[in-house]
Amino acid sequence: MLSSVVHSQNSPPSLPLQWPSPWPTRAQHASRPAIGALTPLLPVGSGSPLATSAPRCPRTWFLSRGFCRVLLPASFPLWHLSHRSLLNSPVFLLLLLPQILAGQWERGGHGRASDWSSHTGAGQDVGRSCILVSIAGKNVMLDCGMHMGFSDDRRFPDFSYITRSGRLTDFLDCVIISHFHLDHCGALPYFSEMVGYDGPIYMTQPTQAICPILLEDYRKIAVDKKGEANFFTSQMIKDCMKKVVAVHLHQTVQVDDELEIKAYYAGHVLGAAMFQIKVGSESVVYTGDYNMTPDRHLGAAWIDKCRPSLLITESTYATTIRDSKRCRERDFLKKVHETVERGGKVLIPVFALGRAQELCILLETFWERMDLKAPIYFSTGLTEKANHYYKLFIPWTNQKIRKTFVQRNMFEFKHIKAFDRAFADSPGPMVVFATPGMLHAGQSLQIFRKWAGNEKNMVIMPGYCVQGTVGHKILSGQRKLEMEGRQVLEVKMQVEYMSFSAHADAKGIMQLVGQAEPENVLLVHGEAKKMEFLKQKIEQEFRVNCYMPANGETVTLPTSPSIPVGISLGLLKREMAQGLLPDAKKPRLLHGTLIMKDSNFRLVSSEQALKELGLAEHQLRFTCRVHLHDTRKEQEMAMRVYNHLKSVLKDHCVQHLPDGSVTVESILVQAAAHSEDPGTKVLLVSWTYQDEELGSYLTSLLKKGLPQAS
């Protein structure tokens, strides 16, 4: 009964810039038929590349929350477009496929996946953070750390991984250092001066200030104490720091025309930052080390809902949920207080920066609050220098310090004084912070030997101790220690362990992922076994892909970038005027033509597209014959059709033309007698492609027959 014919008027069917409506052809009563169809040429949604699946029909054109965007899978294949016989369509430029490449690597031979746990395992992971991200053609190096455990070539990353030939400067667009810990910046002078890199190095101002002090200290130990050759020199550190560009929090730095970076607060240590790296619509957030719970001197990490394509997060505590910090602080203070009240001495071995300042603040405020008089000492000159910077970078500290520094800078310690060797023998209670943290050498060990014999005294280990150090021995309960020279030291003093860690725990990591809403997550800086758990949780709860590459491994992520398409204002207004306001809940359809020219996309009206491309318009008409059993005359028949349509389609302009045909908008209905059967009349219904909706509705209406004349 129903037959459709494509009337193609002198044109080859090769250029249907517009397809028939994908809109369901369900008849819509008394309402304007849906605004035809546009058609994004390209499928939308679905993050997976469509190359392998059958091409699906083009879908919706989004007009929500004020902007339009066409989503395009990155690996959209060319053949898919050609399949749609678009090859002889206008100028068509294939998009550069953006890919994000990320991986951790280190020196060959140790970078294999199987080796991962041997270096990063054993609960302590100090390092070698060094990640290369290649994002939409830009190469960025994140952190440039060294490994504390090695003293040979293996301590630095193998930069030959980046490029075998050519200079690093040509290959890398920039280097970003997240914070001043040596496992994140230790290899920087080696990398920039000895391997050779002249591009910009970005870091925050506190990092820029403190980093050279630590590097110099590290160099001194390596060269002066251990006598290593082929190490970077003081001059190299200085030269390297000259290449540094300081960034402020939340400042967007334009590295070049396309690449921009932005720093977010990360807690952890003074000046630690998370970085967002952005090229076009692609972005990566690298967290460095961060802390989601505030401590006595720093605030918590914070990021806005920046929805990066990829979030690279540390996962040191992937399988731990920590207790509230307050209990530990309280315990610590109580122990110190009790010992001091008893007249004992307290030794706290610390690493020079980071936790030491937190403990200082903690004790300082406690002393102030409780009005205690016992002296507190802090050893080493390195810390003094660093403390100076802590005083300067008040905006990077926590709320309390920021609010009160006008009255008094909390880092201007009233109760904490510099330590002198002679003080160790003076009587009476005191508290001493001394380096290094594991009691393996230096001042802390000297003091320990002096005080160990008295049970009134106490040593508090605030961090982890490596096996073999004195710190580890006493923590595991050894009471008799063999010192050099066959001396036996009996430890009578109390030994306490108090862990203050500044990394985010599993909940904190999840919280950050929740805040940033990334499309993919990549876990670094942790143990494989633990990361596996977290990976599973992230995939389960956020439904995003999660990766955990081993050292030296490369991860390639397909992304679904949003591609901005310009729309002419005239077209937008015209289409808007046809309906009510865009309703955010429903996608809206627009008529238009997508033109891809050079590397920009434009949505224009079809007339303009034709004009621009110099093409003639082709009209597409569907024609359909409806056979109706009716013995009356054609004229009469046409009149009845007219009346019928007029009564049904109240909102449309139905006209009865003098030549006997009926038009509804652009649809033409003609009645003719059947050539063979005079009792049957044939209604010829013809409509343009644009009115497909109404046309098909009309045919189905007419097919049902006309109502009996009353």
Binding site: R65, I321, R326, E329, Y497, M498
Partner: protein, 912 residues
């Protein structure tokens, strides 16, 4: 620029002068037309929009009377139609809104015009302003249903505007005027009743965050106006919790809270499972989740609201304190749990060992839920937050929830105790107060008490005092606990001797709450020995007094305790009972005759002997018939002395006793005045009659006037004054009116001598305002040196008792040795309110003087300022009568109400 400004200032100045001239013409009844006419002329004169705007701005500065509003509105509207510049139209629209708010003006007449111009307006800003005007009109006419419906209609029509400002205003209008009753009777105009909630709800998904916020706010506004929100809103609001904008999230949290309070018991399904839970629990979980939001404003909001969700089931409530610790995928116990375990196993206070917190059992990886689906750990996060505002809100919420749920109170104790170590004092203080409020529900474990007591060494007085208050109402479980508390309090006493009173008070309550726990401690505390007599402790040692206060208060309800006392303890009791009667209760001691021994322990205040004594002595005075100089004066003097002493002994009667004594002193003075007058009259010769008589006429007249006025004013209170001087005076009024001055004096004299005392009915609770300056202590011998001409800041710290409205009444006075006095008004923020009826003033006083040769003392004292007129208008009797000029100008003055403290200062001459 400066020149321009100057010019403008000058212009404005000249304008002001012109206005005054206008005001002067007011007498001619020309104001009404002139006001609108002047405006009209001004607006017509204006050549440019900027000019017109200037005129309008000027016009807006002066108020318009209700009767001329309409005329002005017409002029404005007329100009509005002609005006092309949107900024001028905007100003006119805002003026219309302002004018329609004028009291006494009914704005329904301008509504039609406003709606009319709204329809033709193109500028979005002006549209928004016009809608604002309509809102003002609508709120002015809350009864008129038709107008409200019409306005709602207009708002609905403009909801589709493209500008967020217009949509915002429309939503605001809907929220404020949307009809409350579902079935409004069919209106004459036939406007369909719209479902306002649905319309507003549709805009929860608007593309502009400001509009989304406005929509939620409008919904909240509907709720505030008493419209019951539909439950369907809940799901919509839940979706908004993950909005990108903080103000939307913040408002959404409020909305969820509102809905959860409306439909606490309805059941909602848990997504991705078949289970269902109560709505209030679901909402609780969702708000808990917002405690870890990215924006601290939202976190504060969420934490605050949690406190008021009392219907939530205890299962959910307790989750908020549980974070499910783990380490390397193994379950770990929290420090709190460990502490509890240690305590219950009897091994208290062990040293921390390496690996003490080693995790124990393995965790099923599948079961761990890292993103809390429910309330898990919300308070743990809230209390650890980096912003102290969030922490305070969390502590407050904990407090409110714990007050309604004893089991939760028990659980949150550990967390509150931890907050005692917060870095911000405000938070510490807040958590101590919170603990005090919930202390009825809890008993402190020993380890918790230990932590609480550690804070006693805090150098902040506020904290220590709050902690003493807390200890007053804490329950302790063991005798070791009591001992610990006593030891720590004594330590506190030696470190901060100024805390003496507060510590004694604290021990008083500690003793009376735990008599059985104190009993076994008594021999140890008093260091008595079964065989040997021990040395008698020093009676003036505050620490010893503290111990005795504890013991005596415990002994009050523990009759076996006095048997353990040694002889000197009894002696000390007698002394303390007398000197510190407010701290030491009356005891029934064997072999001692004490007044209280015969009485039952639960005596009502009226049967209390001291109260009886007070009554008796007052009645004795009142029974005096005549103001006979000699005997009366003596009796009065004795009574006053007795009363004062009574006030010192019985703190609860101090107010009444002091008040009565003061009253009697007034009487005494009156008697003395009379006596002195007779002396003047009869002892001296040569007093010219004329000099006395002339003013007498005037005085008499005035006196009669006053009596007359008095009678009118106090007509309602007259029955109270029966048989008194006043009563008789009024009786004699007709006679007085006709008499000559000399006779008046005679009559009055006779009457005065015959009149009895006015019996003053004493209210139950009279409190005397008092103040004690704690700092400066006035003991320092080191003068405060400063350069003359400059200032030196002196910290003043004082406690005020029973002062009403201290912010306005309490002043600090500094008296310099040269007689110069300086009055300082402390800032309102300097007053804190630690408890009912008590205030604490911590302020700085700035001293300055010219150079002295030697250090000298200045006196610092506190004054209570009063204003007699400030009290009078409150009394009901003034309403009727017109005020006499005397009453109108209230007498202002100050009363010193603290002992003065001397401060040694030394202004040095400035070195050149």
């Amino acid at each position: 620029m400066a020149a321009h400004l100057k010019k403008r200032v000058y212009e404005e100045f000249t304008k002001v002068v012109q206005q005054q001239e206008e005001v002067a013409t007011k007498k001619l009844r020309m104001t009404k037309p002139s006001k609108s006419a002047a405006l009209h002329i001004d607006l017509c004169k204006a050549t440019s929009p900027a000019d017109a705007l200037q005129y309008l701005l000027q016009f807006a500065r002066k108020p318009v009377e209700a009767e001329s509003v309409e005329g002005v509105v017409r002029i404005l509207l007329e100009h509005y139609y002609k005006e092309n510049d949107p900024s001028v139209r905007l100003k006119i629209a805002s003026l219309l809104g302002l004018l329609s708010k004028t009291a006494g003006f009914s704005p329904d007449c301008i509504m039609d015009d406003a709606i009319n111009i709204l329809q033709n307006e193109k500028s979005h800003q002006v549209l928004a302003q016009l809608l604002d005007t309509l809102l003002a009109i609508g709120t002015k006419l809350p009864e008129n249903q038709a107008i409200q419906m019409r306005l709602v209609d207009v708002a609905c029509k403009h909801l589709t505007d493209t500008s967020h400002g217009v949509r915002n205003k429309c939503l605001q209008l809907l929220g404020n005027l949307g009809s409350l009753e579902k079935n409004v009777t069919k209106d004459a105009e036939g406007l369909a009743v719209r479902d306002v909630q649905k319309i507003i709800g549709d805009y929860f998904n608007d593309q502009d965050p400001r509009v989304r916020t406005a929509a939620i706010k409008a919904m909240l506004q509907l709720h505030e106006r008493g419209l019951k929100l539909h439950q369907t809103i809940y799901n919509q609001a839940c979706k908004l919790l993950s909005d990108d904008y903080e103000q939307v999230r913040s408002a959404a949290v409020q909305l969820i809270w509102v809905v959860s309070q409306l439909y606490p018991e309805s059941i909602v399904p848990i997504p991705s499972s078949n289970e269902e839970i109560r709505l209030v629990d679901d909402a609780f979980g969702k708000i808990c989740h917002m405690v870890s939001d990215g924006s601290w404003m939202v976190r504060v909001q969420a934490a605050k609201l949690l406190g008021s969700m009392e219907q939530v089931s205890s299962h959910f409530l307790e989750q908020t304190l549980d974070k499910k610790l783990m380490s390397d995928l193994r379950r770990k116990r929290t420090a709190h749990e460990r502490a509890k375990e240690l305590y219950s196993s009897g091994e208290f206070s062990s040293g921390r060992k390496w690996g003490d917190d080693a995790p124990k059992e393995e965790i099923d990886t599948g079961a761990v839920n890292l993103i809390e689906s429910g309330a898990c750990g919300a308070f743990v996060h809230g209390l650890e937050d980096e912003m102290y505002e969030v922490r305070i809100a969390a502590v407050e919420a904990l407090c409110m929830l714990a007050q309604s749920s004893p089991s939760f109170a028990e659980k949150c104790l550990d967390f509150l105790v931890d907050m005692f170590n917060d870095e911000i004092e405000e938070v510490r203080l807040q958590s101590i107060h919170t603990m005090r409020k919930i202390s009825n529900n809890i008993t402190l474990r020993e380890d918790q008490l230990d932590t609480v007591l550690a804070v006693l060494e805090d150098s902040s007085r506020d904290i220590r005092e709050a902690l003493h208050e807390l200890l007053c109402c804490t329950n302790v479980s063991t005798k070791e606990g009591i001992h610990l508390a006593l030891v720590e309090l004594l330590k506190n006493l030696t470190k901060y001797p100024t805390d003496r009173d507060s510590i004694w008070k604290c021990l008083k309550f500690l003793g009376s709450r735990h008599p059985t726990l104190v009993l076994p401690l008594v021999p140890e505390l008093l260091s008595t020995h079964p065989f040997f007599d021990t040395a008698e402790p020093d009676m003036d040692d505050p620490a010893y007094i503290a111990v005795l206060v504890l013991i005596f208060n415990a002994a009050k309800t523990c009759p076996t305790m006095p048997a353990l006392f040694s002889d000197h303890t009894f002696r000390h009791y007698a002394y303390l009972r007398d000197s510190l009667s407010h701290l030491v209760p009356a005891l029934r001691l064997p072999g001692r005759k004490l007044v209280s021994s015969g009485l039952s322990p639960n005596i009502t205040p009226h049967e209390d002997p001291s109260h009886q004594f007070l009554q008796q002595s007052l009645e004795r005075v009142y029974s005096l018939q005549h103001l006979d100089p000699q005997g009366t004066q003596e009796l009065l003097e004795f009574t006053i002395r007795d009363l004062q002493r009574l006030g010192e002994l019985q703190s609860e009667l101090a107010g009444v006793a002091d008040f009565s004594a003061t009253y009697l002193r007034c009487q005494l003075l009156l008697i003395k005045i009379m006596e002195e007058t007779y002396k003047m009259e009869f002892m001296y010769s040569g007093v010219e009659n004329k000099s006395v008589v002339d003013p007498l006429f005037g005085m008499c007249e005035k006196f009669l006037q006053e009596v007359d006025f008095f009678q009118r004013c106090f007509i309602a209170d007259l029955p109270h004054l029966q048989d008194s001087f006043v009563d008789r005076l009024l009786d004699l009024m007709p006679r007085l009116m006709t008499s000559k001055p000399a006779e008046v004096v005679k009559i009055l004299q006779a009457m005065l001598r015959q009149s009895t005392f006015l019996h003053l009915p004493l209210p139950e609770q009279i409190h005397k305002a008092s103040a004690t300056i704690i700092e400066p202590a006035g003991e320092s011998d080191n003068p405060l040196r400063f350069t003359s001409g400059l200032v030196v800041a002196l910290d003043v710290d004082a406690t005020l008792e029973h002062v009403q409205d201290p912010q306005n009444t309490v002043k600090v006075q500094v008296l310099y040795p040269d007689g110069q006095a300086q009055m300082i008004h402390p800032k309102p923020a300097d007053f804190r309110n630690p408890g009912p009826g008590r205030h604490r003033l911590i302020t700085q006083v700035f001293l300055s003087h010219t150079a002295w040769t030697e250090p000298c003392q200045v006196e610092v004292r506190l004054l209570l300022a009063y204003n007699s007129s400030s009290r009078i208008p409150k009394s009901p009797w003034i309403e009727g009568g017109e005020m006499s000029p005397q009453v109108e100008t209230g007498i202002e003055g100050t009363i010193p109400f603290s002992k003065s403290v001397k401060v040694y200062i030394m202004p040095k001459p400035a070195r050149r």
